[in-house]
Amino acid sequence: MQAIQIIFEASLWAAAIRIASPLIFATLGELICERAGVLNLGIEGIMTVGAFAGWFAVYHGADLWTGIVIAALAGAAFGLLHGFLTVPLGLSQHVTGIGITLLATSLTYYAYRLAFPSVTSPPKIATFAPLEIPLLSQIPILGDALFRQTPLTYLAFVAVIVVAYVLYRTPIGLAVRTVGENPAAVEAQGIDVTWLRIGAVAVGSAFMAIGGAFLTMSAFNSFYFDMVNGRGWICIALVVFGSWRPGKALLGAILFAAFDAYQLRLQQLAGAYLPYQVFLMLPYILSILALIAMSRRAGYPRALMIPYRKGER
């Protein structure tokens, strides 16, 4: 009975929106890359870079929004590298992506250890404070869940609208969608396929890095090793679940996060009967199940993972 009651608690949904926020940013980022035809398995490492870069900048006195910009730029830099290796050089997107994740993660850890050689507890920063939206936050349940979050969470929702608008209502969005389906058609329009794809990967990677920065600058107030903890891989599953559409991806991220928040509460309730690890496994297993469920209807961008070389068929 109590297990069902939890679902109607505002605090569950507030937690769900909070947990969803980094996933929304990173899922949008991966979606942009894949829509342009490039799978970006660098996501896990790029989120780690973003988490560190933003936090480190703020620790050194930058204000929070500057930190976000720095995180985004750091992510975009790794995106450029991934784009350069996979687009003009046409290297395996699987292997390169794993390589980018290894490189980005290890560079971050190196930088962290260099800056803090032997600290037992990592230094903390003052993070984004919750911002209540007047009037709207007074709505029962919904107000608590949606309108008492940090500015970064609101930004995540705005980002979904902006990305959806750009993808479906602007010429550049049309070009990005087309280059993921039929790059030759884009070439015929006089648009450079190579730069368009690299650009999309860089922008997508910036989103991923902001998702990472959410962890250190809004969810927690410090940087830890392994703090991304597979969130990047989950976002790749969320892109498939969302059929490469921003709106559906948002829905997927919120459902996933609601489930994650629910299992956390269930742990306290049923922890006596089941080991806590079972609950922690559920989000990963749910991601796999979602992939299987969507596989039949998955509308992959046709040119996903296929390198484009001018004049080659």
């Binding site: 292997v95 490189l103 190196y110 050689p117 299987i292």
Partner: protein, 349 residues
């Protein structure tokens, strides 16, 4: 500037590419050393001394290379058939679990019987673990990269659960660790009083067997054909899905042996920090070896040398040992870039 396909594959690059990759990783390391306020030469000297300067150091490098040979082979076998097994970490732990289940006294058998039994059971566990994602790939078209990656996280939690419950050592003072394996289940040390153990020899043997399978059997040919062009392989009458499944069994089994070797040869028991990412590093090892099984041995020793050397270096010079991880990742990316030039040449226009 553009890339032009070569008519004939350039064979010299197979030798040049790994050298370029190693050189690039040292260049990046030099930059990082400078950023860390140390002279690159003193860092390199300390890394090399720490990895091969003394007999102890060199044996330590070979000990560290042992699990990497297994996970490297696992990746090399799978990648050859374009089966992207990124789940080496999970399969390693599957092997480690089987070692503890069978090797802590449940089977009172002599070593010559017990050790092969453990290895067989572990390989089966690892193989079945990879068969799931492979089935999802061939049957439903679910990307195996994501599923194998996600299973790594599930598996580590599963191990954590076992170490809190069924496999917890009652004498472990509450630490999440398993009982030690019995003496008959231990892989003997190669040199008395040193850490290098039989697992290293088994790893070399495994590499030779994989080389034989690749070069001299129909299955080896089929794996290559499926990896090269699955459509063409299907038209040629190769049962693509079945070859994928067999590849998965071999790959998962090899990665599981890394778990057996670490538990039965080195650590003695199962803990949550058994593998500092051996599964992921195996991918780098396989790529550095251009997926060649004998090359995997050399690549694993090189990568192990970087890690062992960097550990020693960080203690003396004080530059963080994560420099080794950066070098290894750089080597991976440079290697795949350099290999591109076996098929293409750069035309300056």
């Amino acid at each position: 500037m553009r890339l032009e396909p070569r008519i004939e594959a350039a064979s010299s690059i197979w030798v040049v590419a790994p050298l370029v990759a190693v050189a690039a990783s040292f260049v990046v390391a030099a930059v990082l050393a400078l950023a860390g306020g140390a002279s690159p030469l003193s860092v390199f000297a300390a890394v090399i001394k720490g990895a091969a300067g003394t007999q102890f150091a060199f044996l330590e490098t070979l000990t560290r290379a042992t699990p990497l040979i297994f996970t490297g082979l696992a990746a090399a076998v799978a990648f050859r058939a374009k089966l992207w097994n990124i789940g080496g970490e999970a399969q390693l732990y599957a092997g480690a679990i089987m070692t503890i289940v069978l090797g802590t006294g449940a089977l009172p058998l002599p070593a010559p019987v017990l050790i092969p039994m453990i290895m067989a059971a572990a390989m089966l566990a690892g193989a079945l673990l990879l068969l799931g994602p492979t089935f999802l790939k061939t049957r439903f078209g679910v990307d195996e990269v994501v599923t194998t990656l996600l299973l790594n996280f599930v598996m580590v939690l599963f191990v954590s659960m076992l170490l809190d419950g069924a496999l917890k050592d009652p004498m472990g003072l509450g630490w999440p660790q398993s009982k030690k394996v019995i003496e008959a289940a231990q892989l003997p040390k190669l040199i008395h009083g040193k850490r290098l153990h039989l697992g290293f020899v088994i790893a070399i043997g495994a590499a030779l067997i994989v080389w034989f399978i690749n070069a001299r059997t129909t299955f080896g040919y089929e794996m290559r054909a499926v990896g090269f062009n699955p459509r063409a392989a299907r038209f040629a009458g190769i049962p693509v899905n079945r070859v994928m499944a067999k590849t998965a069994l071999l790959s998962g089994g090899l990665a599981a042996l890394a778990g057996v070797s670490e538990v039965a040869g080195l650590k003695g028991n199962l803990t949550l920090d058994l593998s500092p990412g051996f599964g992921y590093t195996g991918i780098v090892v396989a790529m550095l070896a251009v997926l060649h099984p004998v090359g995997v041995i050399a690549a694993a020793i090189f990568v192990a040398a970087m890690f062992v050397g960097a550990d020693a270096m960080s203690r003396t010079v004080g530059v963080p040992n994560y420099i080794a991880n950066v070098m290894v990742a750089t080597a991976l990316l440079t290697m795949v870039t350099a290999m591109l030039f076996t098929r293409f040449r750069l035309k300056l226009r």
